[in-house]
C-alpha cells in the first residue's frame, strides 16, 4: 500500500475533462504521456480498459498483470500488461493505495444474477462500454469494436479484498475525495472508461460521483 504522490501540476496538463458517473470516455494517451484519474468526491469506482491504439486486438490482460507482479492488487509500480505480454501503462503515482482488477464491470445481465431479476434495467458499466465502442471507429483502420473487445478490466479506487481461504467480497472503499492514480503510457494506448453507475453495492458508496481525467505531455 505504498502511497506515491505526483509532482505534476494540474494547471500544466494538456487535457482535462470531468466525467460524470454513468458516462463513458474513450481517448488515446500517447506513449510517454501521463494520465491521471482523480476521485473528486471519494469512493468512486472507475472501470477502465486499455488497448494498443495501433492494434486493439492487443489489450489489457488482468490475469497476466496480476500473475507477473505476483499480487492481486494494483498500486504504484504496477505494470499493466497486455495480452501479448507488453507493458501498456506503468502506475507512477497513487494516493489511494490499491485498486482492483478481479471484480470486472457491472452489466445488466450480471446485475440480474447478483441482486434481482428486475435490476436488469438499471444502467451499467458494460452498457457504457458498448455505447462508447458503438460510436467509435477504433485504431488506424477505424476497426469496429464490440463486446468481443470487452475483457476483465481495472476498477480504480475499488476495494475487492480476497481472503487466504479464497473468499471475495465487495468492501467499503478505501478511496476519499482528492485521491488519485497516475500512469505513464508505455505505448500509444486507447483508454476506455466507464465511470461506474452501480447502486446495488458499496463500490461507489451508493452515490456515484464524477471523476476528473488529466493528461500531461511527456516533457511536462
Amino acid at each position: 500500500m505504498a502511497i506515491v504522490e505526483s509532482k505534476l501540476k494540474s494547471e500544466q496538463a494538456c487535457y482535462e475533462h470531468v466525467l460524470p458517473a454513468g458516462e463513458s470516455w474513450l481517448h488515446e494517451v500517447k506513449r510517454g504521456q501521463v494520465f491521471r484519474i482523480l476521485d473528486l468526491e471519494g469512493n468512486q469506482a472507475v472501470d477502465t480498459l486499455f488497448y494498443n491504439a495501433r492494434d486493439p486486438q492487443e489489450r489489457y490482460s488482468a490475469v497476466d498483470t496480476i500473475r507477473e507482479q505476483g499480487n492481486l492488487y494494483l498500486a504504484a509500480g504496477s505494470r499493466l500488461l497486455s495480452s501479448e505480454g507488453n507493458v501498456l501503462m506503468t502506475i507512477v503515482a497513487d494516493t489511494c493505495g490499491r485498486h482492483d482488477t478481479l471484480g470486472g464491470a457491472c452489466a445488466a445481465e450480471s446485475n440480474s444474477v447478483r441482486y434481482a431479476i428486475d435490476k436488469k434495467y438499471m444502467h451499467s458499466c458494460r452498457d457504457s462500454f458498448l455505447y462508447a465502442l458503438g460510436h467509435c471507429g477504433c485504431g488506424p483502420e477505424n476497426i469496429p469494436m464490440d463486446k468481443r473487445d470487452l475483457t476483465a478490466n481495472v476498477n480504480f479506487f475499488m476495494n475487492v479484498p480476497v481472503t487466504p481461504a479464497g473468499e471475495l467480497t465487495f468492501a467499503d472503499g478505501i478511496s476519499a475525495p482528492g485521491k488519485y492514480v497516475e500512469m505513464r503510457a508505455e505505448m500509444d494506448v486507447m483508454v476506455l472508461i466507464s465511470n461506474c453507475p452501480q447502486l446495488n453495492n458499496p463500490c461507489n458508496a451508493y452515490n456515484p460521483t464524477p471523476v476528473q481525467l488529466l493528461i500531461w505531455d511527456a516533457a511536462a
Binding site: 490475469v63 478481479l102 470486472g104 464491470a105 450480471s110 446485475n111 431479476i117 473468499e167 471475495l168
Partner: protein, 242 residues
C-alpha cells in the same frame, strides 16, 4: 435429478496427453469428468455458448456472483450474459484456479527452453495461449475471444496483502472434477503446465475426459441452490431452452 457417471450412460472418453489441446461441444444435459491421471495436472479451459460464441466464460462475473476467488463443488461457471455455462457437480480436489491466466510462448521458452517440432517431434514444447489460439481458429475465432481462463487442478491462493502463492502437489493421481453443462457449450482445453508452476522441467501431465448423459438439474440441485444468485443464474439460463 441429474445422473452420476456410469458405464450405461457414458457417451465417450478420451485421454488428452500432457501438452495436448482439443475443443469440442458439450450439449445441455451432458457432463464431463476430468481426471488427473498421473498427479500434478493443470488443465487450461475456456467455455463459449456454441450457439452464440460472443457469449463466453466470464471470470469476474463468476467470482463476484458467488463471492469467491476459487472454484470447487457447488460453484458454477457464469457467462458474461448472466447465464450458467457449466456447474461443478463433484470435485475431489477442492480448489481450481481462475485468476492466474495461461502460459505463453515467451514464458514457456524462458522457463523450459525452446524445443521445436524439428528437434523433438510431438514432444515439442507447447504453450497454452498458442494452443488455445489453434483450437479457437478451428471455430473461426481468435485473439479477441481469449479471456481469463480456468486452470483445473491448480491452486493459487492470495495472502492478506494480495501476494499470490502457487501450491505445488495440490492435485494427486486419480483426483477428478465433474462439470455438468447447462447450455450447449464449446469447450476449449490445453493440458499445459500452470504458468506459476515452479517445476523447472517441461512435464505437462495427461488428463482423462469422460462424457455422459446426466440430464438437466431439478429444483433441489446442489449448484442451483448453492447461493441465491445461482437460483437467478439458472432461471436466466433456462429461459433459453423453454
Amino acid at each position: 435429478m441429474s445422473e452420476a457417471f456410469s458405464k450405461d450412460n457414458a457417451i465417450w472418453e478420451e485421454s488428452v496427453p500432457g501438452g495436448g489441446h482439443c475443443s469440442f461441444v458439450m450439449k445441455r444435459g451432458t457432463a464431463l469428468r476430468l481426471t488427473d491421471v498421473a498427479g500434478g495436472a493443470n488443465l487450461c479451459a475456456l467455455f463459449y455458448n456454441t450457439d452464440e460464441k460472443l457469449e463466453r466464460y466470464n471470470m469476474p462475473d463468476t467470482l463476484k456472483a458467488q463471492h469467491t476467488a476459487h472454484l470447487t463443488q457447488g460453484f458454477v461457471l457464469y457467462s458474461d450474459m448472466g447465464r450458467v455455462l457449466a456447474s461443478i457437480v463433484a470435485d475431489s480436489v477442492g480448489w481450481h484456479d481462475t485468476i492466474s491466466g495461461m502460459s505463453n510462448a515467451v514464458s514457456v521458452e524462458r522457463k523450459y527452453g525452446k524445443v521445436d517440432y524439428q528437434q523433438a517431434r510431438n514432444a515439442m514444447h507447447r504453450n497454452a495461449r498458442d494452443s488455445m489460439l489453434i483450437e479457437l481458429g478451428k471455430w473461426g475465432m481468435g485473439k479477441r475471444d481469449i479471456v481469463p481462463n480456468v486452470n483445473f487442478f491448480s491452486k493459487v491462493a492470495a495472502d492478506e496483502a494480495g501476494g499470490l502463492h502457487f501450491q505445488p502437489g495440490h492435485s494427486q493421481a486419480g483426483d477428478f472434477v465433474e462439470l455438468r453443462f447447462e447450455m450447449n457449450v464449446l469447450v476449449v482445453l490445453s493440458a499445459s503446465q500452470h504458468p506459476l508452476d515452479p517445476n523447472p522441467d517441461y512435464v505437462p501431465k495427461p488428463v482423462l475426459l469422460q462424457a455422459w448423459r446426466c440430464g438437466a438439474p431439478d429444483a433441489h440441485d446442489l449448484c442451483r441452490n448453492f447461493r441465491p444468485e445461482n437460483v437467478r443464474g439458472f432461471h436466466n439460463t433456462e429461459l433459453l431452452f423453454r
